[in-house]
Amino acid sequence: MAAEEGKVDPMKQFQIEPLFGSSWDIAGFNIAFTNSALWMAITVVLLWVFVYGGMKRELVPGRWQMAVESATGFIDDMLEANIGKEGRKYVPYVFSLFMFILFANLLGLMPVGIIPGVHAFTFTSHFTVTGVLAVMSFSIVLIVGFWKHGIKFFTLFVPHGTPLPMIPAIFLIELFSFMIRPFSLALRLFVAMMAGHVLLKVLSSFVIDGFNYGAMTSLIVAVPSFALMIAISALEILVAGIQAYVFALLTSLYINDAEHLH
């Protein structure tokens, strides 16, 4: 934090900085290992540790195994409720998606900033990342849809009972709303994560500046802002879970469209 300048830049936390490999290129595109990539790596390692702890395969599960089994069971139930029996084959993908986003969101909220020189980075607050995740989900929908139904997949855009003269207009509207899905999916997560983090940083600048300006501002600005920060941190933990859930839920709903049309 730029506290020493008496100013907090709420956008600095989204800055991507290459850690090493600045000169790595693939086909002319730079693939430097950045702080964003580092946090992705941490997410994967922690997720692996979490799931590995649940692989003891005991008949009577311990707490950890129970937690992991609850997570897989949660995704399994969600897919079964939204897609049905065919939904089970998407459990690995939706589980990976949900847990990856959830761990990333929660890690970004960890107060590691109290260690000097360490900055938490929430890679889900970058639309390049959420965009890729959304495009992956959307691609699965397209591939499954055209694989299973071929050209009949386009009937998805004509709801049952549409009057004949309305079909061209409805088709266009439905097609448009279908094509907008990856954008809404990506933007929803990106905006929610970014907004929360900006809000926390803005409030933290109120706290720091309030204390710096003296006793009066400390009392009427810094202390209430700090209380609000605590409350909003709690809210952000909730949002982290909800956004991961929404992403996974919408993905499963879209896959349901591809599996069953209507």
Partner: protein
């Protein structure tokens, strides 16, 4: 907003590393570990279902055995009852036989006694007749002074006895 300001220089690195790490997540954790975790859950559910079925089976078997035991018990009881009835009937028959034998013996004894009594009575009667005839002879001799021979006296006595 660094997301836009740094887009041109960082998008390839972001996409590349996301694909790498999400790929690891998907293939290692999603495809590799999650099915095993779910397999454990399925195994446990199956075990519970099997145990419940086994318990149900054991209960059914117990019910069946109890039913069989009851049937056997009933049969035994009936057999015992029949045995009791049979021996009762046998005992009754035996005692009846014994009774009838005793009755017969009594009857013959009674008949014998009766004939003896009859004989004695006849003998006594004859004696009484004899005595009466003698007495009659005597009385007649005394009163009428006539001698009546034994035969006449006897027939007279008989006549009087027969008339009461």
């Amino acid at each position: 907003m660094p997301q836009i300001a740094q887009l041109a220089e960082t998008f390839s690195s972001q996409i590349f590393w996301l694909l790498v790490f999400f790929g690891i997540t998907f293939f290692l954790i999603g495809r590799g570990m999650v099915p095993k975790v779910m397999g454990t859950v399925a195994l446990r559910d199956k075990q519970i279902a099997d145990d419940l079925a086994a318990a149900q089976g054991a209960r059914d078997a117990a019910d069946e055995q109890e039913e069989a035991w009851r049937e056997r018990e009933n049969a035994n009881r009936a057999a015992a009852q029949a045995l009791i009835a049979e021996s009762k009937a046998k005992a009754a028959k035996a005692s009846e036989k014994k009774l009838s034998a005793a009755q017969k013996r009594l009857d013959t004894k009674l008949a014998k006694a009766e004939t003896e009594i009859e004989a004695a009575r006849t003998a006594a009667m004859a004696e009484v007749e004899g005595v009466a005839a003698e007495a009659t002879q005597d009385i007649v001799a005394r009163l009428a002074g006539a001698t009546v021979d034994k035969r006449t006296a006897r027939s007279a006595v008989k006549k009087a006895l027969a008339h009461g």
